[in-house]
C-alpha cells in the first residue's frame, strides 16, 4: 500500500512536470495568405483594371507554383489567394471594395489602385485598419505625401507625376529643341514653344506642376505658350486644340488617360490640322492607345517604363519578354505598364511577408519600409526595388519612345529614342511638321 501511494505521488509529480514542459501551442497555420487586389474591373478604367488584375493573377500563379510564400512563423510555404476588389472606377466603389477586402475578406496585404482621385478617397480606410498597401497604378504624389491622414502603411510602386513631367521636359530640352532649331535654322537661344493639355485632376495638375517646376528649377529655355485643361472622361477636345493651335506651339504635351489621349491626337491632326509633335505620359503605353491613335500617332512621342511592343536591350529584356509572352498565352492580349507594376507589386507583397516572417500587418509594413529586392521586369534606380525613407516611393528609370505608323497592321509601333544608352533609333522630325512661331 505504502509503495502504491508512493508510486501514485511520483506519477502525479511526473505528470505535473511533463505538463509544465509541454511546448506552447503554435498558432494555427492559415490555409492561404490573402492578397487583396484593388482594381477597376468595371467603369471607364476597366481596360487598365483588367490588365492589373490579370497581371496580379499571373504573378500569384507563379508564386503558388513554387509552393507559395515561406512564412518563418509557420516554417512553411503558404499559397496566396488573390482576392478581387472592384473599385468600379469611382471613389464610392473604391471605398466599398476596400472596406469589403479588409473587413469581410480579411486580407493580409493590398496591391493595385488606379486613378489618384479614386485611390486617395479610400486611403482613410487603409489608415484606420492599418493594412499594408502597395499602390501600383495611382501616380499623384499626394498618395503618400498627404498629411491629413496617416499614410505610413501605403507604399508607392509607380512613377509619380513629378517623374513624368521631369523626364519629358528634360527630353524636350535635350532632344526635340535642338532638333527643331537645327532643321529650321533657328538660333540656339530660341525659346522652345511648348503647349500643355492636361486632365483637370490631381494627375493632370501634377504633371503641369512638374513641367513648370522642371523648367524653372533648371532654367530651361522652354516657354509654355498654352496650358489648357479638360474634365476627366471628356471626349471632344477640338476647342482646346483649336486654342492651342492658335498659340503656335512647337510641341504639345498631353497629360491624359489612354482613352483620352487616343482621341486627342486624331482630333488634333485630322480635325484641327495641328501638325506638330505630341508627347504623351507613360500611362498611355497600352495596346488600346496604339489602336486608338492609328495613323495619326505617326512620329508622336510616348514616355514609357514598360511597353507592350518593345523591350529595351539589357538584363531585363528577357524577363520582360517572358512576362509579355506568358500574359499573352494566358489572356490573349499584351499587358500594359500598369499590369507590369501590379505584377511586380504582387511579388513585392509576397517578399514583404516572407521578410517579415509573419502575417502581422505591422511587421509586414516594417518589412516593406526596409525592402531591398532586385528589379523584376521594370528598370529601377540602382537596379533595386526599394521605397524611399521619406515618402515610401520607388524610383523608376523612364525612357522615351517615338511611334511610327505600320500600314500593314494599321497601328503605330515604338522605337526607343532616349536616353542614348538604350535608344534604338534617333528622334526624327517628320516632313509635315510645322514649328511654332511667336
Amino acid at each position: 500500500m505504502k509503495h502504491a501511494v508512493l508510486f501514485i505521488v511520483i506519477m502525479l509529480i511526473a505528470a505535473f512536470f511533463a505538463g509544465c514542459t509541454q511546448p506552447a501551442q503554435a498558432p494555427a497555420q492559415p490555409k492561404e495568405i490573402k492578397i487583396g487586389a484593388i482594381v477597376s474591373m468595371t467603369g471607364p478604367n476597366s481596360n487598365i483594371g483588367k490588365n492589373m488584375w490579370q497581371s496580379a493573377t499571373l504573378a500569384t500563379e507563379e508564386i503558388n507554383a513554387n509552393g507559395g510564400i515561406f512564412v518563418k512563423q509557420y516554417n512553411a510555404k503558404i499559397p496566396i489567394k488573390l482576392v478581387q476588389g472592384d473599385d468600379e472606377s469611382t471613389r464610392e466603389g473604391g471605398q466599398k471594395a476596400v472596406t469589403k477586402l479588409i473587413t469581410d475578406d480579411k486580407v493580409d496585404i493590398l496591391v493595385g489602385g488606379y486613378a489618384s482621385g479614386v485611390t486617395s478617397a479610400y486611403e482613410q480606410t487603409i489608415a484606420e485598419f492599418k493594412v499594408p498597401y502597395v499602390v501600383t497604378g495611382a501616380s499623384s504624389p499626394i498618395i503618400t505625401h498627404r498629411t491629413d491622414i496617416d499614410t505610413s502603411y501605403v507604399f508607392h510602386h509607380c512613377p509619380t507625376t513629378d517623374a513624368y513631367g521631369m523626364y519629358t521636359t528634360n527630353f524636350i530640352n535635350q532632344v526635340i529643341r535642338p532638333a527643331v532649331n537645327k532643321k529650321f535654322n533657328f538660333p540656339a537661344d530660341r525659346p522652345f514653344r511648348l503647349a500643355l493639355l492636361y486632365q483637370d485632376t490631381g494627375f493632370g495638375q501634377g504633371v503641369k506642376t512638374a513641367v513648370n517646376d522642371t523648367i524653372t528649377k533648371n532654367n530651361l529655355n522652354i516657354q509654355l505658350v498654352s496650358q489648357q485643361s479638360f474634365k476627366m472622361g471628356e471626349s471632344d477636345f477640338r476647342t482646346a486644340l483649336t486654342t492651342i493651335k492658335a498659340a503656335n506651339p512647337d510641341a504639345v504635351y498631353l497629360a491624359a488617360a489612354p482613352n483620352e489621349g487616343a482621341q486627342i491626337i486624331p482630333q488634333a491632326r485630322r480635325d484641327v490640322g495641328l501638325n506638330t509633335i505630341f508627347l504623351s505620359v507613360e500611362n498611355n503605353d497600352a495596346p488600346e492607345y496604339y489602336k486608338g491613335i492609328g495613323q495619326y500617332g505617326d512620329y508622336s512621342i510616348l514616355e514609357s517604363r514598360f511597353s507592350p511592343y518593345i523591350s529595351p536591350k539589357g538584363v531585363l529584356e528577357e524577363p520582360q519578354n517572358a512576362f509579355k509572352n506568358k500574359y499573352f498565352a494566358k489572356w490573349g492580349a499584351y499587358p500594359d505598364m500598369m499590369g507590369a507594376s501590379t505584377y511586380e507589386g504582387t511579388y513585392i507583397a509576397a517578399k514583404a511577408i516572407e521578410n517579415a516572417g509573419t502575417l502581422n500587418k505591422a511587421d509586414t509594413r516594417q518589412a516593406l519600409s526596409v525592402l531591398k529586392m532586385p528589379e523584376i521586369i521594370e528598370h529601377m534606380k540602382d537596379d533595386t526595388i526599394s521605397f524611399s525613407k521619406d515618402y515610401r516611393e520607388c524610383q523608376f528609370d523612364l525612357w522615351m519612345e517615338q511611334l511610327y505608323y505600320n500600314a500593314t497592321i494599321g497601328e503605330t509601333r515604338p522605337t526607343i529614342v532616349w536616353p542614348d544608352i538604350i535608344k534604338t533609333t534617333d528622334f526624327a522630325l517628320p516632313d509635315w511638321y510645322k514649328p511654332g512661331s511667336a
Binding site: S229, K231, T239
Partner: protein
C-alpha cells in the same frame, strides 16, 4: 482681339456637338410630349445605338452612315418592347415610379451592354476619316459635314412625319390633349409605343453619329449626354421639338465657346448656367407653354 477664323472653327465644333444633343433631346422631348414620362435611361439608347452601328460595321464593313438606318430600326423595336413591358404598366402612377424605373433601366442596359460587348472603350474609323473640305478659312472634316447634313435630314423627316402624315397628326394630337385624342378615337397606346420607339431611334441616330465621328464609346457613355439632353429640353421647353433643336444648338456652341474663353473645366458648367438664367427669366423654357 480674337481671331475670326478660330471663332468660326469653334462655332463649327459647337454645331457638330449640337447635332448629337439635338437628336438625343428631340427624342426625349417626343416621348415626354406624348407620354409625359421622365426617362433617365434615354442616354442608354444612344449607347445601344452606338454599339449596334459599330458591331454591324465591324462585321459587314458597310458604310456606317448607311448603318444608321439599321441602328434606328433596331432601337424602334427595343424601344417598343421597353415601353410595353416597363413604362406602360406604371403610366399615370407616381412620377417617382418613372424615375426609379428609368434609373433601374440604366443599370440593366449598362450591365447588359458590358456583358455583350465588354466594358472596354472602343472606337471605329469612318471611311471618310482624314478627308477635309476647305470652307472659307476653315478646313472642315468631311465627316462633320455629313453629320450635320444627316441630322438636318432626320429632323426634316421627323417634321414631315409629324406634320404631313395621319399618324403624325394623331401623335401631335395625343401630345396636345391625351383625353381629347382618346375621345376622337385615336389609339393613344399605339401613339405611346410609336413615340417611344421613334424617340429611341433618334437616340440611336445620335449614337451612330457619335461613333462615326471617331469618338470612343463604352457602356457608360450614355449618362452625361442624357443629363445634358434633359437640360436642353428644359431650356427649350418641355415637349417642344423646336425648343429641343434650338436648345441643342445653344448648348453645343455655348460649351465650346466656354472651353475657348473660360477653359475646359467650364465646358459642362456653362450649359447649366444658361439653363438657370433661362429658367429664372422664363420658367417654361424658351419655347415651352405654361401648364406643360
Amino acid at each position: 482681339m480674337y481671331d475670326l477664323g478660330i471663332l468660326l472653327q469653334i462655332i463649327f465644333w459647337g454645331l457638330y456637338a449640337g447635332c448629337i444633343y439635338i437628336l438625343l433631346a428631340t427624342g426625349l422631348n417626343l416621348i415626354f410630349g406624348v407620354m409625359k414620362i421622365v426617362n433617365f435611361a434615354h442616354g442608354e439608347f444612344l449607347m445601344i445605338g452606338a454599339y449596334i452601328t459599330a458591331t454591324v460595321f465591324l462585321i459587314t464593313g458597310f458604310n456606317p452612315y448607311v448603318l444608321i438606318l439599321v441602328s434606328m430600326l433596331a432601337l424602334i423595336g427595343i424601344g417598343a418592347v421597353v415601353e410595353r413591358l416597363c413604362f406602360r404598366p406604371i403610366l399615370g402612377t407616381s412620377k417617382l415610379n418613372e424615375i426609379f424605373l428609368s434609373i433601374g433601366l440604366i443599370y440593366i442596359f449598362t450591365n447588359g451592354a458590358a456583358m455583350i460587348w465588354g466594358d472596354e472603350w472602343q472606337s471605329i474609323k469612318s471611311p471618310y476619316s482624314g478627308i477635309t473640305v476647305p470652307i472659307g478659312s476653315l478646313n472642315v472634316p468631311l465627316d462633320y459635314i455629313i453629320i450635320i447634313i444627316t441630322t438636318a435630314a432626320i429632323l426634316c423627316g421627323l417634321y414631315l412625319f409629324l406634320r404631313k402624315t395621319k399618324t403624325g397628326l394623331e401623335m401631335r394630337a395625343t401630345s396636345q390633349n391625351r383625353k381629347g385624342a382618346m375621345l376622337v378615337g385615336i389609339n393613344v397606346e399605339r401613339m405611346d409605343i410609336l413615340s417611344f420607339g421613334i424617340g429611341c431611334a433618334l437616340a440611336a441616330a445620335a449614337g451612330t453619329l457619335w461613333v462615326v465621328s471617331g469618338q470612343v464609346f463604352n457602356p457608360y457613355m450614355g449618362s452625361i449626354p442624357a443629363v445634358k439632353a434633359f437640360a436642353i429640353i428644359i431650356l427649350g421647353g418641355l415637349g417642344s421639338i423646336p425648343g429641343a433643336i434650338i436648345g441643342g444648338l445653344i448648348y453645343g456652341i455655348a460649351e465650346n465657346g466656354a472651353a475657348y474663353f473660360l477653359g475646359g473645366v467650364w465646358k459642362d458648367a456653362i450649359s447649366f448656367i444658361i439653363l438657370i438664367i433661362v429658367l429664372v427669366l422664363r420658367p417654361t423654357g424658351l419655347f415651352g407653354e405654361s401648364g406643360e
